[in-house]
């Protein structure tokens, strides 16, 4: 049960509470996950007054403070429309008004379209203490075992990339059985991420161009079987949706040129 609630006024104060080894305290973002009273937790450190609710567009990318709610991202002009679509599919407004981006990454699992999309965009997390920059793709597989710090303060991703995703679900707003997100940069670099299975989305391909997206996707979900779908289905559809994503990217490029 949660027996202590702290609301620090700065990141420094929050870090001091979170690094205090005498108590097990967890950072509290929106609360959508932590309010489910966990055992083994002494207290929560509510970050709402730490000044982390901001979005900044820099020369290369977008940086989002850790207390930024998903709904705020929906309203921001520099957030990619596909990221917004992913947010809308993952969470209705009631949840978006509370849930923070890091909180969502922690709690949403492998069927989150938003996490899939951010992984495709090669998002980077800034961890404190130490301002360590960790790529989402490096953190996701390990987050339950080891943490690079006690607090995520920022999440950043490059803008200017093309991004599309396709998904299959039982109903339009159901959790996906399979989601394929493809990001492509001006250099041709193409990154394919699959979601809808397991604890986290996975990178199927990160290559210099889009050739082989179907094969890579098929291989990546070769054994992706659970109660929701067979691996045979997922690998076949992953390949098809990856190609469909590339077609959409190409069509977009054509229309823009």
């Amino acid at each position: 049960m949660i027996s202590e609630y702290c609301r620090p006024a700065s990141v420094e104060e929050a870090l001091s509470l979170l690094t205090d080894k005498s108590k097990i305290r967890l950072p509290l973002g929106g609360g959508t996950s932590l309010s489910r009273q966990q055992s083994g937790v002494d207290g929560v450190v509510d970050l709402q007054d730490t000044g982390l609710d901001w979005i900044e567009k820099g020369s290369r990318g977008l940086t989002v403070g850790a207390m930024t709610r998903l709904e705020r991202l929906m309203a921001h002009p520099d957030v990619h429309p596909e990221v917004k679509r992913a947010i809308q599919l993952d969470a209705p407004e009631n949840i978006r008004n509370m849930a923070t981006l890091p909180g969502w990454l922690f709690s949403s699992g492998g069927r989150s379209i938003l996490t899939t999309v951010l992984l495709a965009l090669d998002a980077t997390l800034t961890w404190e203490p130490g301002s360590k920059q960790v790529r989402l793709g490096d953190w996701l597989p390990l987050w339950k075992q080891a943490s690079p710090g006690v607090l995520i303060t920022e999440i950043a991703w490059l803008v200017g990339s093309q991004l599309v995703f396709e998904y299959v679900a039982r109903a339009p707003k159901d959790q996906p059985i399979l989601v394929v997100a493809v990001a492509q940069w001006g250099s041709g670099r193409t990154r394919v991420v699959l979601g809808g299975f397991g604890d986290m989305p996975i990178i199927a391909m990160d290559g210099p161009d889009s050739s082989g997206v179907d094969v890579a996707s098929r291989d990546a979900y070769f054994e992706a079987e659970d109660q929701w779908a067979t691996a045979a289905y997922r690998r076949d559809i992953a390949a098809k949706l990856a190609l469909r994503c590339v077609e959409r990217l190409n069509a977009k490029k054509e229309s823009e040129s």
């Binding site: 027996s3 959508t32 309010s35 009273q37 929560v44 009631n94 339009p172 959790q175 399979l178 076949d236």
Partner: protein
């Protein structure tokens, strides 16, 4: 910890537990508009409040987080416009729009929807429909299908902008293709962009013209709408009582096991724990949880607590404690030693020789052909005509097997009950039930109390859909109240709803049909293997209805029409899964999936028009219900002639509305330009239901005249959000010649209201309604007699039979009148004093079926198999529609539940019997922003066995959507799907062959 919360612009200094959720704090403070949906992740949204003006879910927020912010609940919005001498501003515009448009059914999610709408309209005064749907998408509604809430928000927006809005009670024109939002684009395959007509009143085609009526047939606002839209404490849990304990239940982690030992000492020692009960503490009374009339038409096979558990989620122990947190902690401290037993997880396995026996208790009480040694809860063998001869006379025989899944009722208000001893030492049970009188009767022996020492109060119900036709939670709280002497509340969590409540019977159904080359059906055979789960509640009757309704529709043509050849056999077996039970449709949706898919296959293989083939063989007016001589639910069968069948007109109206003649067989229409992987398809299904159970269902009503000429209407009927209190009041008002506001309806309380069997079998408007009309006619007669006496006192001799009642007056043929107020004062105070009142009851010898034609339009992704349902049109013959607005709400909400059955809802178990679905994340019910277009058309016939010509409306929308969608999938891509839900992988597999 101590904090100050600002709620509705007032500061509340509070002491709270550090881990307390905002939802619990608000409810503790009496803000009962904030509802508990039992979920842990904010999936349902019923607990939404405005947080600095934005909607958030209070169940996923710590109270401490809210300090320094503005919390707003519906209690801060409008109020009743008349508060005695005090004038108020009345309801908020949004609340008023929800009342007017019929957007409130059970009303449980309404306060959340109103707040979401308020937030939206404050930032977006002219929202598009898509924006409205997106805003509402965080609040799940299982009743409405979202059309009317969307209409309410759009209407409120228009009003707030100062625009005129169209009147509600105005019938829509009918007769052509309904063009939805023409020029605004086709609905997108993502489900976005659906377009709702702004006209609230549904489309109505009247076949039997009636004299105009004042109240019946009008879209009157629901009589409970004003309180529900304000979030008044109307539901079972909205109730405070000093010293109330909170109950929790320890549930089995095993699918089948013996409890070898339970140690409750650690739990009992936990401070704040008041009682821990196990099977050793309770009397061993066997009973059935199925809320049905006496005698229960099924086996008695359940104990409140037993030494054996039969499914994951079965009850092991009850705990009562000072708080929910302490009770949860105590549950964890109970030590149980189980001896795991072999399990049965599917119906076929249950029938095998040597299968484990699930019910080996010596107290088991058989009903009819149940046989626990064979895991058989019920057996049905019905033969009508000569099936073998019919099959021999056929030119073609079609055989196939179909599968339907276990699904959940998913009412947003969980099962909830409060029990306490009153000052007379009578046990009061305030419970969210569809069957208050059955609860009292069935629970009495279980509690070792006589019926007369139990009072059951049914407050408002936050949806039931059959799930609350079950005596499921009342015993938990009652045993704990008996043990502790204190009030106890027991509310199920959402997880408990999935693992420990009831569900719809999954079935495997084999069809065999003989057909002549010209399309005449010569014989029709159905065998159903039905899975009742761990207990046999509703086992016989649900599965009986599977055949009784779906196999009755197609009798054949020519001589076969005179003498149909129909066989329906079924075995209903026990398995180690959560029990099946009543779910809206009551076995009939399971039947129409195979029947209507089978009819489609036959028509297509014989090259026949699917509509003409069906109508050729369908029942016609004046014919006998073919099963009426062979089987009835709970009573001896007696022949029943069906007098009203509007099916053909339903087909005509539905095919026009969906533009069937343009789309069916049109290759160009099936293609989606620019998207070769998408294919469109159109499908149809025809269905029938029942209206009550003949010779069994009975409802009572009493009506009493008050001093001012208003009336108290007391009914035992149970409004579970359907609007039955409203339509019963409308019939009383029409009969008595008063406006609806003069009828003060109260339902239902076993101490005060007459008996009614409860809300099930689509019977309330028909059975309870007829009782109301009978009582009203008796009261009307007394009013006429009194008026005649009053006329005579003034020298005017009038025969009471010549007096008419209208506009709160008794009118003599000469035109002279006395008002109801004058009549009431005269009767109560002035001369030959007596109370004008009457009691009546009604039971019907017939169960006239409603009929419907269901159409569906889909888009199939032929690469992934994903199906998007774009449009559903349902044309329904439910007799005279007493309230078209509430009735269309029933159809829209029913179609939406059926849509889930068609494409996404199912309950799946692993090899150990562990359920996959435990919340609304994995068990997906449709959200406001992913709905297809829904259209309801009523084809009115006058059913002569009801005083106002009504038949049932509530269950029939559950029957046809799945097969219509299945037939549309076949039309789109050639995949003949035999099992639902229509999962993408199933379509993909079929397309890959």
């Amino acid at each position: 910890m101590e904090i100050t919360l600002n709620i509705n612009q007032q500061d509340y200094p509070l002491k709270i537990a550090t881990g307390e959720r905002l939802l619990d704090t608000l409810r503790r403070l009496g803000f009962f508009s904030v509802k508990y949906g039992g979920c842990q992740k904010g999936e349902c949204g019923a607990c939404a409040v405005l947080f600095d003006g934005r909607p958030v879910n209070s169940c996923t927020m710590l109270t401490a987080q809210a300090e320094g912010h503005r919390i707003q609940t519906v209690e801060s919005l409008g109020e009743h416009p008349e508060q005695g001498w005090k004038r108020t501003e009345g309801l908020h515009v949004i609340q008023q729009a929800f009342v007017e448009t019929g957007a409130i059914q059970c009303g449980y999610c309404t306060p959340a929807m109103v707040l979401v709408a308020k937030s939206l309209l404050e930032k977006t005064p002219s929202p598009s429909e898509e924006e409205v749907r997106a805003a509402l998408s965080g609040v799940l509604c299982r009743c409405t299908g979202y059309i009317k809430p969307v209409q309410a928000v759009l209407r409120a927006a228009a009003t707030l902008r100062g625009e005129e809005v169209s009147p509600i009670d105005e019938p829509s024109a009918i007769g052509g293709v309904l063009e939805f939002g023409e020029g605004e684009g086709t609905p997108l395959t993502t489900g976005q962009g659906t377009l709702t007509e702004t006209k609230v009143f549904p489309k109505l085609k009247v076949l039997d013209e009636l004299s105009p009526m004042k109240t019946v047939g009008h879209g009157e606002p629901k009589v409970d709408a004003v309180k529900l839209v304000q979030g008044k404490p109307a539901f079972a849990a909205d109730f405070d009582r000093r010293d109330m304990l909170v109950a929790k239940v320890l549930r089995s982690p095993y699918a089948h096991a013996i409890i070898k030992h339970i140690d409750t000492s650690a739990a009992e020692a936990l401070p704040g724990v008041a009682a821990v009960l196990t099977w050793q503490d309770l009397p061993r009374v066997i009973y059935s949880t199925a809320g049905q009339s006496h005698p229960i038409p099924g086996p008695l096979d359940m104990f409140s607590l037993d030494k054996k558990v039969r499914f994951v989620g079965d009850r092991v122990a009850f705990v009562a404690a000072e708080t929910a947190e302490i009770a949860e902690e105590a549950v964890k401290l109970i030590q149980v030693e189980y001896e795991a037993l072999p399990t049965i997880l599917n119906a076929k396995q249950a029938m095998e020789a040597g299968a484990p026996v699930i019910h080996d208790e010596e107290e088991y009480v058989n009903f009819a052909d149940s046989d626990p040694n064979r895991n058989l809860a019920a057996e049905i063998r019905i033969d009508i005509g000569d099936v073998e001869r019919g099959l021999a006379e056929a030119d073609h025989i079609f055989e196939a097997e179909y599968v339907v899944p276990k699904v959940q009722q998913a009412h947003i208000e969980p099962h909830v009950v409060v029990t306490y001893w009153d000052e007379d030492d009578r046990l009061v049970i305030r419970t969210s039930t569809q069957v208050p009188f059955h609860v009292r009767r069935q629970l009495a022996p279980v509690l070792n109390l006589p019926v007369k020492r139990i009072r059951v109060i049914k407050p408002r119900i936050g949806g039931g859909f059959g799930g609350k036709q079950e005596v499921l939670v009342e015993d938990v709280a009652a045993h704990l109240t008996i043990a502790t002497g204190r009030p106890v509340i027991y509310e199920m969590t959402r997880e408990e709803e999935f693992i420990g409540a009831r569900s719809r019977h999954p079935m495997r159904i084999r069809m065999k049909t003989g057909v002549k080359a010209d399309g005449t059906i010569t014989a029709n055979v159905m065998y159903a293997l039905s899975d009742t789960g761990a207990y046999g509640c509703h086992a016989l009757t649900v599965t009986g209805n599977t055949g009784h309704k779906s196999m009755a529709l197609y009798v054949g043509d020519g001589p076969y029409r005179e003498q149909p050849n129909i066989r329906f056999y079924a075995d209903v077996v026990y398995t180690n899964t959560v029990p099946s039970g009543a779910y809206r449709g009551y076995g009939v949706p399971q039947g129409f999936w195979p029947v209507e898919r089978h009819m489609e296959t036959i028509a297509r293989e014989l090259g026949l028009d699917p509509i003409a083939f069906r109508l050729k063989n369908a029942l016609r007016a004046g014919e006998l219900h073919p099963f009426s001589t062979a089987w009835s639910e709970g009573r001896e069968p007696k022949p029943e002639t069906i007098y009203t069948i509007g099916l053909e007109e339903c087909v005509n109206q539905g095919r026009m509305a969906i533009d069937w003649d343009h789309k069916f067989g049109n290759k160009a229409w099936h293609a989606v330009p620019g998207k070769q992987h998408l294919r469109k398809g159109i499908g149809v299904a025809m269905v029938m239901q029942g209206t009550a159970i003949p010779y069994l269902d009975m409802g009572g009503a009493s009506i009493k005249m008050n001093d001012d000429g208003s009336f108290n209407l007391l009914v035992g009927a149970t409004d579970l959000g359907t609007g039955s209190d409203t339509v019963l009041s409308q019939m009383a008002a029409e009969t008595l010649g008063v406006p609806l506001e003069d009828i003060l309806v109260y339902s239902s309380d076993t101490d005060f209201t007459p008996f009614d069997k409860g809300a099930y079998a689509s019977s309330t408007t028909y059975i309870s309604g007829a009782a109301v009309v009978k009582a009203a006619e008796k009261v009307a007669q007394q009013i006429c007699d009194r008026a005649a006496a009053m006329f005579a006192e003034n020298g005017l001799k009038v025969d009471p039979i010549e007096i008419t009642l209208e506009e709160r007056r008794a009118v003599a043929p000469s035109g002279e009148t006395v008002t109801f107020g004058e009549i009431a004062l005269h009767a109560l105070h002035q001369s030959d004093q007596r109370q004008i009142m009457a009691v009546a009851s009604h039971m019907s010898p017939v169960a006239p079926p409603p009929f419907a034609a269901q159409f569906a339009e889909v888009t199939v992704d032929t690469e992934s198999g994903m199906v998007t349902v774009d449009k559903l049109v349902m044309a329904v013959d439910s007799g005279v529609i007493i309230n078209p607005v509430t009735a269309s709400g029933q159809i829209e909400g029913g179609m939406t539940q059926a849509l889930g059955y068609a494409v996404c809802e199912e309950m799946v178990y692993d090899e150990q019997g562990q359920p996959r679905e435990r919340d609304f994340v994995d068990y997906h019910i449709f959200r406001a922003d992913e709905m297809p277009e829904l259209t309801t058309i009523f084809v009115e016939t006058f059913e002569p066995s009801h005083p106002y010509g009504a038949k049932a409306v509530a269950e029939i929308p559950l029957d046809g959507v799945a097969p219509a969608v299945g037939n549309a999938i076949l039309d789109a891509c050639g995949v003949s799907l035999n099992a639902i839900p229509a999962l993408p992988e199933k379509i993909w597999q079929a397309l890959s062959k």
